[in-house]
Subunit: 329 residues, 2 copies
DNA sequence: TTGAAAGCGCTAACAA
DNA sequence: TTGTTAGCGCTTTCAA
């Protein structure tokens, strides 16, 4: 299987390589019959341009990096699938990097993407700072941040979760709950935990607060969720409602609740975040804030396209989150 | 941020670019002090070789394609994460392609991987044939197939599920079940459904059979699982035990069981396959055949490394599956 | 032990 | 409207 090059196509069509290139890129007019001849030759020979050569020449790779803390989290898996499907048509390839929330992994990948002049990077930074992302900007690599917080002057897709969160609080307080707690993400995560901040702010509007002892922190894992829930229940005045930074944590909380014989929602109401597939599968079914992964992935793809098409001012796309009442409140 | 090239390093170290290249590759001896000077310059300038240029020159890209039918299925997501983590050290990037079990998507990606001389392709073919994979072999691109069936002369990672499946059958028959059914994958899937074949063979050893009407087929989706279960229950003699080609299907079956007021395991025992995260989350907890995704992903990475290191004879790695008794049998 | 230089396949500036 | 050609950054052959 010999590689077919532009030179082969040019020869077959009786034109120069430049013409073939221009037919492909459309960057300069080509006479219709010349174009036809070239296209025929391309089809005939089954030619596909060598993206490596193209990248070397243009200084732009066809790779888009996707940096996520945990690909096994259904949210990120769906996000990745949607992103890839939307980028495919542009001839872009999605390169995944699972960082396990490890800063050095995040940084190593971002560095490489900058060095190799990736076509773009879509990242959910977990321990990375805005400063780290400047690496990419300086290298001229478009960045899309998928996170609740703002991280420098870059494109961003973020949940619009205020009304959903308010609805959740409403449901919780309607159920007579007053001692509201949260199992948040780790303290040293990039931007702290914006979901906690939002909950705090909204709670005040509801005339209540998150008591000091009722905010615990941990990684976005099932184990950490169990741990956090255990901590919460060991308080002198344990909570009667627990919000979680995501559904994985919430499931961990349910694990521990079962061990401790704490009834959900009888003793404690539980609210997740994301609406991962399993949220409707656990018993009781998890009440949660749905943040649609597919829509978020598609939005990220759109932002990237716009950048590649020349937009220079950063833009934020907000994806509406939605309260999903099930059985855990 | 100017790109640092080998020429810069060479100049700084007072040597030729060739020497820099050889220091990096180790493909010819370099005097220790020369080497030291070069390494110092590399560090000083923060040089990283341009993989695009390297690929163009060597005709080998640093990309490994991962082709899966459904990235949102936790099995594939974990597989992807493990593969990527094991390939990272080799400087290889994992490019994902989510095909939604669509043959044309599979084919398009395989074609491109062949054209662009990918470093390798790891694929769970769903509608692709051995013949299609020859595209890659002819292009000299190493292929690792992750599937129960054998697909041409390529490397392969596959479950060793016989004993686990036997244990599952044992549990089912111990529970007094005799009318065994299966919700299998689609008829036109590559290789049919080997899990069905295995179950059939083992059932015979148990002195029973899968009656004709008790094998239904569908996609590997929750909806198809529900559909299939409904079909099965509409039979004149419905089954009292249902095996599923994977856990996603099994969950769909549970959905429908609930709608139909069929008790699991009271009326019907249910067995999944994979042990996806949610298997232990649904109620009743799903009894299943655990096929460890991470181990499979790591095995695929290993096979690829071996190929890249020069092995030429195809090899199959079997990953042991395990019966996990929970509550649905 | 090291260097010079060709060339991988493409794009785009320049020329015609 | 089209062609010629330099050169992207690297690897590797050939020569010293």
């Amino acid at each position: 299987m010999e590689r077919v090059t532009m030179a082969d196509v040019a020869e077959a069509a009786g034109v120069s390589v430049a013409t073939v290139s221009y037919v492909l890129s459309g960057k300069r007019p080509v006479r219709p019959d010349t174009r036809a001849a070239v296209e025929a030759a391309i089809r005939e020979l089954g030619f596909t341009p060598n993206t490596t050569a193209r990248s070397l020449r243009t200084g732009r790779s066809s790779l888009v990096g996707l940096v996520v803390p945990d690909l096994a989290n259904p949210f990120y898996a769906q996000f990745a699938a949607a992103l890839q499907e939307r980028l495919r048509d542009l001839g872009l390839h999605v390169v995944v990097c699972n960082t396990r929330a490890d800063r050095s992994e995040e940084l190593a990948f971002v560095r490489e993407a900058a060095q190799q002049q990736f076509a773009g990077v879509v990242i959910t930074p977990f321990r990375l700072t805005a400063k780290d992302l400047e690496l990419l900007e300086r290298a001229g690599v478009p960045v899309v941040v998928s996170a609740d917080i703002r991280l420098g002057q870059v494109d961003r897709v973020a949940p619009e979760a205020r009304s959903a969160m308010r609805a959740a609080l409403q449901a919780v307080t309607d159920a007579g709950r007053r001692r509201i707690a949260m199992i948040a993400g780790p303290r040293d995560a990039t931007g702290g935990d914006p979901r906690l901040e939002l909950l705090r702010e909204l709670a005040r509007q509801f005339g209540t607060e998150l008591p000091h002892g009722l905010v615990v922190r941990g990684e976005h894992t099932r184990a950490a969720g169990a741990e956090g829930f255990g901590e919460l229940m060991s308080r002198r005045h344990p909570p009667d409602a627990v919000f979680c930074a995501n559904d994985v944590i919430a499931v961990g909380a349910m694990d521990r609740a079962e061990e401790l014989d704490v009834r959900i929602p009888g003793d404690v109401a539980l609210v997740g975040y994301d609406d991962a597939v399993f949220a409707s599968l656990v018993r009781p079914r998890l009440t949660t804030i749905r943040y649609p992964a597919q829509a978020a992935g598609e939005a990220a793809a759109r932002l990237l396209r716009e950048r590649i098409d020349g937009r220079t001012v950063p833009r934020t796309v907000r994806v509406k989150a939605e309260f999903v009442a099930r059985e855990s409140v």
